[in-house]
């Protein structure tokens, strides 16, 4: 049974009292996820944040292991982050983005313990969108809609929010501010879309000249992969504290950067810019279906928003095979 929440601010206030609450906060010209000090910092007038909430589950830099020497022998201790946090105001597409990260890190033969620890301790409170942004492509994949992956889902309505509970953790957050209701409203704004027939035939367009011509513009600055909610590649390296202590750590890596595929001895497998751009696009839109049974792209359009030279993957895909 859904609930009606009339006073969002009062709810936020109770949340902040008990949890670290991270929510979109207005910067000069954009919104970014920040730890809320007070409920007054939150205003529901954003379409979405410039950068996704992925950094709270996979930080830009993260210590994985602590090495320390005792009696001449090193030992390795994994460093798991168990801080309880609430991600508040997450848009439906980003809930899908987190679901993709879950698939990458938690499925398969090996579970990534470091991601798992952060993820298990993160409560997700999503809010449906009232309007779509200029570069929103959620229509393509239906990612404006979420059925799971959240603890609470809020739908803005005239007299407050319809709240749906998605987990036991979410249920625990329901307090006297919520009243039961049988209203079943959703907000699903219209946005742009990929041409479905092009998406289905991506394999055929792998050698399309468009990849080459579009890549000429590319600065290889990696902005698209940093801004992508489902780009989770990383590099592992050791950092020294002193000769007897140090960390094994990981840091975001990008397939757009030069040493991403460089093997010992100096050979680089994917050198050309167009191959790198194509790799990004195909991974997000096509290969991931074979890998994880889902499209990694959630249609948030951040890669377009953030590209300094206006490369638009969505537009490229729509134009494939037309030259």
């Amino acid at each position: 049974m859904p609930y009606l929440l009339r006073d969002l601010k009062a709810f936020l206030k109770t949340l902040i009292k008990e949890h670290i609450v991270i929510a979109p906060v207005k910067e000069k010209n954009h919104y970014d996820y920040k730890v809320l000090e007070s409920e007054d910092e939150f205003h529901l007038d954003y379409v979405n944040t410039l950068y996704p909430p992925k950094k709270f589950l996979l930080p830009y830099e993260e210590n994985l292991l602590l090495f320390s020497k005792r009696d001449g022998e090193f030992s390795a201790k994994p460093l798991l982050n168990k801080t309880k946090r609430v991600l508040f105001g997450v848009r439906p597409c980003d809930v899908h983005g987190i679901a993709v990260m879950d698939r990458v890190f938690l499925s398969g033969n090996y579970v990534d313990s470091f991601y798992e620890s952060r993820r298990k301790n993160t409560i997700i409170i999503a809010i449906e969108c009232e309007k779509a942004g200029e570069n929103c492509y959620c229509e393509s994949f239906g990612t404006y809609k979420v059925e799971s992956g959240y603890d609470l889902l809020l739908t803005p309505v005239d007299d407050g929010f319809i709240v749906r509970v998605g987990s036991d953790e979410g249920k625990k957050l329901i307090n006297e501010l919520f009243e039961e209701t049988d209203r079943d409203e959703h907000k699903y704004p219209k946005s742009k879309t990929f041409k479905k027939e092009k998406l289905a035939k991506m394999e055929k367009y792998f050698h399309d000249e468009l990849w080459k011509t579009e890549a000429e513009k590319c600065l290889s600055c990696a902005a698209c992969t940093i801004a992508c909610p489902t780009c989770t590649c990383f590099t592992i390296e050791d950092e020294v504290q002193d000769p007897e202590t140090g960390y094994r750590k990981r840091r975001w890596a990008s397939c757009q950067l030069k040493d991403f595929t460089e093997v010992a001895g100096g050979m680089t497998f994917r050198k050309e810019t167009y191959k790198k751009l194509r790799h990004f696009a195909y991974h997000k839109l096509y290969w991931s279906i074979k890998q994880y049974g889902l499209r990694m792209c959630i249609g948030c359009g951040r890669c377009i928003d953030t590209c300094p030279v206006n490369i638009n993957i969505f537009d490229i895909v729509n134009r494939l095979g037309e030259e």
Binding site: E27, K28, N29, H30, D32, L50, Y51, K55, Y60, E216, K217, C218, L219, S220, C221, A222, A223, I226, A227, D238, E239, V240, Q241, D242, P243, G246, W252, S254, L257, K258, D259, T273, T306, P308, V309
Partner: protein
């Protein structure tokens, strides 16, 4: 573990890098057991002559004396680190390479005062450099990180061989190019925590040109944004005038 002998040398520069070094050494104080500062005239009076395990050189090569000095330093150093944009790329003063030598000299000094001036360059043009630490000024953290790695026998790659954009976006900043502000972030080495961009100022490229940087397309973008070739060249020539790709842009301008 043997203590590593460290030396610091200065060529032609503002000496600002040495101030950063002092900050770095402060962080290394508790590692005194592993590292010994054998030569650092700014810090102490009694300096050893070498040989050294690690030599850090700041400043650019501007005359024949500098060339001789850097060659001597190389000979007595196992590992040579170029610190700061002067040592890695020639620094701001490399801009004079675009003017006739005698004209530049006479603009400042009386006739006959400067006799052995050469083209301004980073030390890498004259000797083999093992590591580069970029920045004007560089970041103390980079120096500390590298020295600690060398202490345990790592032979790391240069850190931060990625564009400023990576750090800038990871820190959540809005792209200045998108807002119409001239920024060299996409063609500049990261590691500065995007400090200028966080203050709303475009990147000047003080950490030097990133070899993979796509100057041609950035130039196109900047001209589309309304900047004149002259304006763009002015910014490029502050820190990047010694990079071949950038040099071509500066020389050929719109025809590049």
């Amino acid at each position: 573990m043997k203590r590593l002998k460290l030396a610091v040398f200065s060529l032609t520069s503002c000496d600002g890098c040495q101030v950063v070094l002092l900050q770095a050494f402060k962080q290394l104080l508790q590692l005194e057991r592993y590292i010994e500062i054998s030569h650092f005239p700014l810090l102490k009076d009694k300096n050893k002559r070498g040989p050294f395990d690690i030599s850090i050189v700041e400043g650019s090569v501007v005359n024949k004396r500098d060339i001789k000095k850097i060659k001597q330093i190389r000979k007595k150093s196992k590992i040579l680190i170029a610190l700061g944009t002067c040592a890695t790329h020639g620094g701001v003063q490399a801009v004079k390479n675009f003017m006739p030598q005698d004209k530049v000299v006479h603009a400042v000094y009386p006739p006959g005062f400067i006799k052995d001036a050469t083209e301004v360059s980073g030390i890498g043009r004259h000797v083999k450099v093992d590591y580069e630490i970029w920045g004007c000024p560089p970041v103390a953290e980079d120096i500390v990180k590298l020295l600690k790695k060398l202490m345990v026998g790592q032979k790391p790659k240069n850190i931060n061989e990625e564009p400023v954009c990576v750090e800038c976006r990871a820190l959540g900043h809005e792209c200045l190019l998108e807002k119409g502000i001239l920024c060299l972030g996409p063609i500049t080495h990261k590691g500065c925590n995007a400090i200028c961009i966080s203050a709303g100022r475009g990147c000047y490229g003080c950490r030097g040109f990133l070899n993979e940087g796509n100057v041609k397309q950035l130039l196109k973008k900047l001209t589309e944004m309304g900047y004149s070739i002259g304006q763009i060249e002015d910014i490029l020539s502050v820190y990047m005038s010694n990079s071949k790709k950038v040099k071509r842009v500066i020389e050929y301008g719109e025809n590049y």
